[in-house]
């Protein structure tokens, strides 16, 4: 029994954290917001234009480090790492609100094609950073970073929580061709940095995988998203702790008031108990445990709920400054809200756990 990461795992995490803190700063996250105004005339991404070219550079830098091929075998140019090896990297991509489909590309589609065969010959591009992959999950037609993905996979259950898992390639229509497609119009979305495209017409191709292979692909996505939520929550908490220690009202730091302390202690507590569930799920998946899906669903439900509490309490403890576009909190807050429902929300995952408990 040992519940801790290895020195190598921590060192890789530190290296990625270091890269992202330099290359994926809040200015870069803002730069990923589409220029101009939204449908109501408000500017969404204040300061966005300054760093547009740096958005793409982050992805290339991750590819250069091998991060995009973490879950791909060495034969296909990857690092052949397990979920346990990459879960901390996913957490870092969350902490920095990486504006790219890391979960979809590196954690889901690349390892799926690596294990079932790469008939469409896209895996090399996914690993070297020249292609991005997207997913449509549990019947949603929203594709994150849908304007840049060039390989799209639909992951769904045939019927309800107890049905058979199915992974199918999506193509045709306005869906996904070989290049980024300007006709894929971005939807107005709360976190515009996610570049959500709502697919209107598409064809589903043949089945890529069914049953356990497809379920594993889904579980990897839910696990990686749970890890991102842990990173996002901890980023929001850090921002808020720094702010309330500085901000003074009534002659004292607002963070010395019990009402503020207790809200933030609650966030820290939820996070402290969600994170081990995420790491344990990564361990379960990498060892092929028969309980892996239940572990993943426990992790995603706890991480989603922790993130939702972080969103509410961190915004409240900031007061009005947290409600502005200029201040960074909204970048992480909006991402966390979106991810809390992506890949199955907390209630969906609790239903999945209920089935395994026989109730």
């Amino acid at each position: 029994m040992r519940f801790a990461f290895s020195d190598d795992q921590l060192a890789f995490r530190d290296a990625v954290a270091d890269l992202l803190s330099k290359e994926c700063t809040p200015e870069v996250v803002r730069a990923a917001w589409p220029d101009g105004t939204d449908g109501h005339g408000a500017r969404k991404g204040e300061g966005a234009r300054a760093a547009t070219e740096r958005v793409g550079a982050v992805w290339s830098a991750l590819a250069d480090m091998g991060v995009l091929g973490i879950a791909v075998s060495e034969a296909n140019g990857g690092l052949a790492m397990t979920e346990l090896d990459w879960v901390l990297l996913a957490e870092e991509t969350g902490r920095h609100a990486l504006p790219h489909p890391f979960v979809e590309t590196a954690c889901v589609v690349a390892p799926l094609l690596d294990s079932i065969g790469d008939a469409d010959e896209v895996l090399g591009g996914l690993v070297d950073g020249s292609r991005q992959a997207g997913t449509m999950v549990l019947g949603s037609t929203n594709v994150a970073w849908g304007d840049s993905v060039t390989y799209l996979v639909d992951l769904n259950l045939e019927s309800g929580v107890e049905g058979r898992w199915l992974a199918r390639r999506v193509k045709g229509g306005l869906a996904v061709g070989d290049g980024p497609d300007s006709r894929r119009t971005l939807a107005d979305s709360v976190d515009a940095g996610r570049h959500v495209v709502r697919l209107g017409a598409w064809e589903t191709g043949s089945e890529l995988a069914t049953g356990p292979d497809a379920e594993r692909a889904f579980d990897r996505g839910a696990l990686a998203t749970a890890a991102q939520l842990v990173g996002l929550s901890s980023r929001m908490l850090d921002l808020t702790v720094s702010y309330v220690a500085e901000r003074r009202q009534f002659g004292v730091p607002v963070g010395s008031q019990q009402a503020v302390k207790h809200k933030l202690a609650d966030v820290a507590m939820k996070l402290r108990f969600a994170a081990p569930a995420v790491y344990a799920a990564a361990w379960s998946m990498s060892g092929g445990s028969p309980e892996a899906s239940r572990s993943v669903s426990t992790a995603k439900a706890l991480a989603s709920d922790a993130a939702r509490l972080a969103v509410a309490n961190c915004l409240q403890c900031h007061g009005a400054i947290g409600y502005t576009v200029e201040y960074d909190l909204h970048l992480y807050l909006k991402r966390a809200e979106a991810l809390s429902r992506a890949w199955g929300d907390a209630a969906w995952h609790r239903r999945r756990v209920a089935v395994t408990l026989g109730i």
Binding site: M1, A245, S256, V260, K261, H262, A268, R350, A354
Partner: protein, 393 residues
């Protein structure tokens, strides 16, 4: 990371499980299957019988060195023991305040004579210890306590005056460990001394009183010029140094708040019973709140999260990464989980929830969790200040 148990650990689990099954059945039979609460006079005697059974089987204090009645079990084996204990439906440990709260302090601060005398007798449930910290005017603000211990060099001992209260099972115990002000000029955290006091002294009055759940689990302890001689216990009655009481006592609080007092096994067992309860009632599903299944699963996951967080904490501890003030989060988690586990069960029981039974009894006990061992409001302050680094008032 490796979340599997070794062959030896699994063997230990099998051994513990078999022993508990046999001995718990025998214990219940000895008492005609009428086990009362350990917080009543009659029930306490039954539970002492159980404690002595545990000691004879060397399961009373598995993690202690063998010389004191333990089996030098690792922290992992201790967790396994706890899981099996609560899984088997083992009763509350009426010796817990000694074993989990005083003993860690004796191991850390006691002199060899104190350790040799106190620990084996505590393990064997021959001496029964209660905690004397809170006073009528010193609860959350423990450092404002006013119970005095005045030095009497002529007779060689301490003269005690004042009142302690909320002393759990005080009416059934024969020894008290507590904090007393030994420097009359001192205030707050200074000038306090950790004393070990036999309760059969002249001038000590113990009065039991009822808790919300109806049991006589509380006591107040009055000291009216009670003289405790230095040699009342081998090695003396002062634990740590005179005037060092606060820092000595704080070593105990982290045990109390942390996982030793309320290990995950207890809550995982309750969560499993909650799932069973939901399953057994689901044939009346149409009368149940449709949201109940979701809440049952949530409780089960929260117990699981506590288990996993503990595996992480024990690993960190073993590898020298201390949890420190993080124990406040642990106390918040288990105490609030205990309430919500029982509330969910009562909602499954519906109208029957008002009848006496294990769930309604457990719910009433759970309500005390956010209050004892430092209220949850104080724990949130500690967590915010010492873990998050927020400024003190």
């Amino acid at each position: 990371m490796d979340l599997t148990w070794s062959v030896d650990e699994e063997a230990f689990r099998v051994e513990v499980r078999a022993w508990l099954e046999t001995e718990l059945a025998a214990w219940r039979t000895r008492h005609d299957d009428q086990i009362l609460s350990g917080d009543t006079t009659e029930g306490f005697a039954q539970h002492l019988d159980w404690e002595r059974t545990l000691f004879d089987g060397r399961y009373a204090v598995v993690s202690w060195p063998e010389e004191y009645g333990g089996r030098a079990a690792s922290r992992w084996e201790w967790l396994i023991f706890e899981e099996e204990y609560y899984r088997a439906g083992g009763p509350q440990r009426v010796t817990q305040n000694g074993i989990f709260l005083l003993a860690p302090t004796v191991f850390e601060f006691g002199n060899p004579d104190q350790q040799a005398h106190i620990l084996p007798r505590m393990a064997a449930a021959r001496d029964l210890w209660c905690q004397g910290w809170s006073e009528p005017n010193a609860g959350s603000d423990l450092a404002s306590l006013t119970c005095r211990a005045s030095r009497d060099d002529e007779r060689g001992g301490w003269v005690l005056d004042g009142q302690k209260t909320w002393t759990t099972r005080g009416a059934f115990c024969d020894h008290l460990f507590g904090l007393f002000r030994t420097d009359p000029e001192s205030t707050r955290h200074k000038g306090l001394t950790y004393l070990l006091v036999p309760l059969d002294l002249d001038g000590v009055t113990v009065r039991g009183f009822g808790r919300l759940d109806g049991d006589e689990g509380f006591a107040e302890v009055f000291f009216d010029g009670a003289f405790v001689p230095d040699d009342a216990l081998p090695g003396g009655v002062v634990l740590g140094g005179v005037g060092e009481g606060w820092s000595v006592a704080m070593a105990t609080t982290s045990s109390e708040r942390g996982l030793t007092l309320r290990s995950p096994g207890r809550f995982c067992a309750t969560a499993d019973r909650l799932v069973d309860l939901y399953r057994s009632r689901s044939r009346h599903a149409e009368t149940l709140d449709p949201g109940l299944r979701d809440r049952v699963v949530q409780r089960w996951m929260e117990a699981e999260a506590y288990r996993l967080q503990t595996l992480q904490t024990v690993t960190d501890d073993a590898e020298g990464r201390s949890a420190g003030a993080g124990s406040s989060f642990v106390k918040l988690w288990w105490s609030e989980l205990d309430v919500s586990l029982h509330e969910t069960a009562l909602d499954i029981l519906g109208a029957d929830a008002e009848l006496d039974g294990p769930w309604s009894k457990g719910w009433q006990f759970a309500l005390s969790g956010p209050i004892y061992a430092g209220t949850n409001e104080i724990q949130r302050n500690i967590a915010a200040e010492r873990v998050l680094g927020l400024p003190r008032k």
